[in-house]
């Protein structure tokens, strides 16, 4: 009686899997632009590395581009749009 062998190491064998990526954030959407984190901010065309997230010291996450715009418009001191605490980038 022959038993068949599933050969993992045969050069032919490959497992091509499919996955989706997601930002490891608590929220679904950016509090500034209201777009999904897994999407991208209104300025960007490509999601992911081209439109990254950034966390503040208060643990709120935003699209980097969104919060930069916000911070630059707030003088002298920017606050987190969500909790009104002083905005500091998470180290």
């Amino acid at each position: 009686m022959h038993h068949f062998v599933f050969i993992y190491l045969s050069p032919y064998c490959r497992w091509h899997a499919v996955a989706s990526w997601t930002w490891d954030a608590q929220d679904e959407t950016c509090g500034i632009c209201r777009m999904a984190f897994d999407g991208c901010c209104p300025e960007c065309k490509l999601p992911g590395d081209d439109c990254p997230l950034i966390w503040g010291a208060c643990n709120h996450a935003f699209h980097l581009h969104c919060i930069l715009k916000w911070v630059n418009s707030q003088t002298p001191q920017a606050h987190c749009p969500m909790c009104r605490r002083e905005w500091q980038y998470k180290g």
Binding site: H2, F6, A17, A19, W21, D24, D38, G48, W55
Partner: protein, 937 residues
């Protein structure tokens, strides 16, 4: 005597003249009158005796002196007529009596010579008679002339009188013949000409095979022709090829010419012309039919024209020349000139100066030929368009014909009806219809550059295609994959439609290029010069030609409705394709996307671009992860107990927000692979913090190799299939329920999926102890190895395709998902209003669902959703109205007793259905009311 005086008075109204007549002169007159009558008798009647001529003349002189010349003429003509009736007319018709009983359809080859002989003989006889009578008439003319010359001392101009008398004679002859014309005579003529012409055409076509033999010209008729028409001799007909041919046939032409001339002299001018014209047209029609045939790969227009010049025109030229008609037309009037007639030298080989008559004939013949060919081609237009690129010569022909005849509407009507009959039927595949549609667009673009008729023809096709479910899919496939070529192959055998469109566009751009460099003014001026009014058939409501540009893609998108729908469909197909890729090779997809971007704009293809970008990124990340592994393994930390390395695993990582919804079912994949996946995800997280991976374990492709003793079989399958077969590694017999649990899918899914392995002969199915639990056994050895393709190393089957399982939710499924939200609204509405039409439901939804979720579906989408509800038996449809089903309609019935609820409309119809039991326990209104109130949304 009284007669004489009356005559004289009626001529001159001078009654005084009667007084001058003496008895002697009356005597003279009576004598001469008797003599005149007798000599006339002997001149005309019997055998004809010209010797009495001098006596006749003297009598005429005497009568003329007494001013009785008109009486003389009248009497003479009366005598002529009587003689002609007797000698000419009755004999002439008698010749044709034999044909009285032969109908024209029965005239055939055997009658050919007979008809010719009889006709020629009859014409000869009657012409002889007529010539003799003309001679007699001439004697009278001489008598009258000589008398008048005597009076006016030779100054009298005699021509007018002679012409008047001869025309009176001709009128007499033709009226005598016409009034007694037998009905079959025109048919005999037609038959005669038909046969003669066929003979002539046979001779010419026969001669053309070996025309070297005809170098020796036969000019024997030229002299005669010169006599008849001095102008003809100036035409150099003998020099050219065609002229030679016709002069060779001159004898035949002469015969025909003689018949025509005789007929003309008898007053049958128009009848003769009719007869030979119809014979020529008949011949031309046969010729066109012969030449055109069913071969669309060659242009026949030119050869038809050539034939017209070679045969009928040459014949007519010779005939007209023989009859001397060309003399009467001095110069062809410019108004008659068609574009064809404007280059006489090139259009009349062998005939340098065409007479107006000939130009007329040519125009008539060519028009007829165009029309015949056009009718032939229009009748076969469907076939022609099926063969489109090959049949373009036929289309060019048709275009020229239509330019000439302007009967485009005929084309439209006939083509639409053949479309309906042959293409727009359930039996035709959507792909075929689409290809025919594209070919139609291309072909009609050639025929009618303004696009007016294309609009009319395209409409039924578009309407029909809109009703087909797979239209959109076929369109996208056609656009992106080409007509059956392998889209992934490096050398694209069959270009996709998109490639073709792009090529066309580039060509057009090249054309316009020159203009762009010029100043705007000049450009505008050139455009203005090129402007032509729309054809009269254009529908003024449909805008000007500018909007009717030939945009094949636009017309195809028009079938779908909007470009967004097409793009969405393409996205779904692209997703399917990308998810099933086991490598990261997307070159052809990138190219297609670039082409689509050109046509649809960058922004609408944004999501597709992100999808492709995901593939590119996946490849990079995959490489990075592998690199980090090899670093680790060099450190010798872990290779896993299974001995399986991450090298085995590739991943496509998608940005799920931009992909169409993917089918996400959880399955349990084998431990070892699962371990690999979490390792991979861990590495990803290390590299791409703070991004993490979520596996879609049911998606992807698995290439695996099964080894049976010394044989190996390779397969490309979905993860589910791989999971199934891998479970047999440790345990060769499974009960379906257990196996389903092990894999983590429902039993019915398992049963469906395992069929793949059963069909490959690797797993055997047997019914277990419990009927719903199947037993699956691993087949010990693959018995029939060749059948199963075990030895075939590249046995690749994408099982997903076979079973119609897709990785991506189709548009319909997506729609269904989105529509489910509205189900509650619809049910509520129907409870309130009882019954509603589709339109009303649509409008009400639009009105009330303006907040989240916004109702943005089309009427068709709503309809298909409602038909889903119908099949779920939640609703029913009668006379175009939707109703709630079952207990809901029961409520409506009860409401009959509480009219304020306004259910009346529904009552009757539900009652008819009879699904309500009046005596059932629900029979009180308060119950009904509470239910009704519960159902209020």
């Amino acid at each position: 005597m009284t007669m004489v005086t009356q005559q004289a008075s009626s001529n001159y109204y001078n009654l005084g003249i009667l007084d001058s007549i003496t008895d002697d002169s009356i005597e003279d007159i009576l004598d001469s009158w008797t003599g005149f009558c007798n000599t006339t008798e002997s001149l005309l009647k019997d055998k004809g005796d010209l010797s009495v001529g001098s006596e006749f003349i003297s009598h005429v002189h005497i009568l003329c002196e007494n001013r009785l010349s008109s009486l003389v003429q009248d009497h003479f003509f009366k005598a002529l007529e009587e003689t002609f009736e007797k000698n000419g007319r009755s004999k002439f018709w008698h010749h044709f009596d034999d044909f009285r009983d032969v109908s024209i359809s029965e005239l055939n080859e055997s009658h050919k010579d007979w008809v010719q002989q009889v006709l020629c003989k009859a014409l000869e006889d009657i012409c002889l008679e007529k010539q003799y009578q003309e001679k007699c008439l001439l004697i009278l003319v001489h008598a009258l002339q000589s008398y008048k010359e005597g009076i006016s001392k030779g100054k009298y101009n005699s021509d007018a009188e002679r012409v008047a008398l001869f025309s009176r004679y001709r009128l007499m002859v033709s009226s005598v013949l016409m009034t007694t014309l037998p009905r079959h005579f025109p048919e005999i003529l037609r038959f005669y000409f038909k046969e003669r012409l066929e003979e002539l055409s046979d001779m010419i076509s026969g001669n053309s095979d070996d025309n070297d033999e005809f170098q020796a010209k036969d000019n024997m008729d030229i002299d005669e022709r010169t006599k008849l028409s001095p102008e003809v001799s100036e035409m150099d007909i003998g020099e050219t090829y065609n002229g030679r041919k016709i002069s060779e046939n001159n004898k035949l032409v002469k015969n025909i010419g003689k018949v025509v001339r005789d007929l003309r002299s008898l007053g049958f001018m128009s009848m003769a012309e009719d007869a030979y014209a119809s014979a020529i047209f008949l011949l031309l029609k046969t010729k066109v039919n012969d030449l055109a045939g069913d071969d669309y790969r060659t242009s026949v227009l030119w050869s038809i024209k050539e034939w017209i010049w070679a045969v009928p025109l040459q014949f007519l030229y010779a005939l007209l020349a023989y009859l001397g008609d060309s003399v009467s037309y001095d110069s062809p009037s410019s108004g008659l000139k068609s574009p064809l007639a404007s280059h006489p030298t090139s259009y009349y080989p062998g005939i340098d100066i065409p007479s107006e008559g000939l130009v007329r004939w040519q125009l008539r013949l060519e028009y007829f030929a165009y029309e015949t060919l056009q009718d032939l081609r229009i009748a076969k237009l469907f076939e022609i368009i099926v063969d489109y690129p090959d049949s373009s010569p036929a289309i060019d022909d048709l275009k020229k014909c239509l330019q000439y005849s302007g009967q485009h509407s005929k084309l439209v009507d006939s083509f639409i009806s053949s479309l309906r009959y042959r293409l727009l039927t359930a039996g035709a595949s959507t792909n075929d219809i689409l290809h025919q549609y594209v070919s139609t667009i291309k072909a009609l673009r050639i025929i009618d550059p303004t696009g007016v008729f294309l609009e009319a023809v395209g409409e039924p096709i578009r309407d029909y295609l809109k009703g087909r479910k797979d239209t959109m899919k076929c369109i996208v496939t056609m656009l992106t994959d080409g007509p059956g070529g392998n889209p992934n192959g490096p050398g694209n055998t069959g270009d996709s439609l998109l490639e073709e469109l792009n090529r066309d566009e580039e060509n057009q751009e090249d054309d316009v290029c020159d203009d762009d460099f010029n100043s705007d003014d000049r450009h505008a001026w050139m455009n203005a010069e090129r402007w032509e009014p729309d054809p009269v058939e254009a529908d003024p409501l449909k805008g000007s030609r500018n909007r009717r540009k030939f945009d094949i893609l636009g017309m195809i998108v028009g079938v779908i409705g909007s470009k967004e729908q097409l793009v969405n469909e393409y996205r779904v197909m692209l997703a399917e394709k990308l998810l099933n890729k086991s490598d990261y090779d997307i070159d052809s997809e990138i190219r297609t996307l670039e082409l689509l971007k050109i046509h649809f704009g960058e922004s609408s293809m944004q999501k597709c671009e992100i999808m492709l970008n995901d593939l590119i990124n996946s490849k990079r990340i995959n490489t990075n992860i592998k690199a980090s592994i090899s670093d680790v393994s060099q450190k010798g930390s872990d290779l896993g107990e299974t001995g399986v390395s991450l090298d085995l695993l590739d991943a496509t990582i998608i940005s799920s927000n931009f992909w169409p919804p993917v089918q996400d079912e959880s399955i349990n994949i084998p431990e070892t692979v699962d371990q690999l996946l979490s390792d991979y995800a861990k590495r990803f997280y290390e590299i791409k913090t703070p991004r993490k991976l979520l596996w879609k374990k049911n998606l992807g492709t698995v290439k695996l190799e099964l080894q049976f003793g010394d044989r190996a079989a390779q397969f490309t399958v979905t993860p589910v299939h791989a999971a199934i077969i891998m479970n047999f590694q440790d345990q060769t017999r499974w009960i379906s329920k257990d196996l389903a649990a092990a894999i983590g899918v429902p039993v019915d899914v398992l049963n469906r999926r395992i069929n793949f392995w059963i069909s490959k002969g690797i797993i055997a199915e047997s019914v277990g102890a419990e009927s719903d639990n199947h037993m699956f056994d691993l087949v010990d050895a693959m018995v029939d190895s060749s059948r199963n393709g075990v030895n075939n190393a590249s046995c690749e089957d994408l099982a997903a395709d076979e079973e119609g399982e897709t990785s991506v939710a189709s548009l319909e499924e997506q729609l269904l998902q989105e529509m489910t939200v509205y189900e509650k609204y619809i049910m509520g509405m129907l409870t309130n209003f009882g019954s509603m039409s589709l339109d009303r439901i649509h409008n009400t939804l639009k009105m009330f669902c303006s907040a989240d979720p916004v109702y943005d579906k089309s009427l068709q989408q709503l309809q298909s959703f409602l038909s889903g509800l119908l099949s779920e038996e939640k609703l029913e449809l009668r006379d175009g109205m939707y109703y709630l089903k079952r207990e809901y309609s029961y409520l409506s019935l009860r409401s009959y007793h509480c009219p304020h609820l306004k259910f009346n409309k529904v009552v009757q119809s539900t009652y008819l259905i009879g699904n309500i039991d009046e005596t059932s326990g629900y029979g009180n209104d308060s119950f009904v009311l509470t239910h009704y109130l519960c159902l209020m949304p």
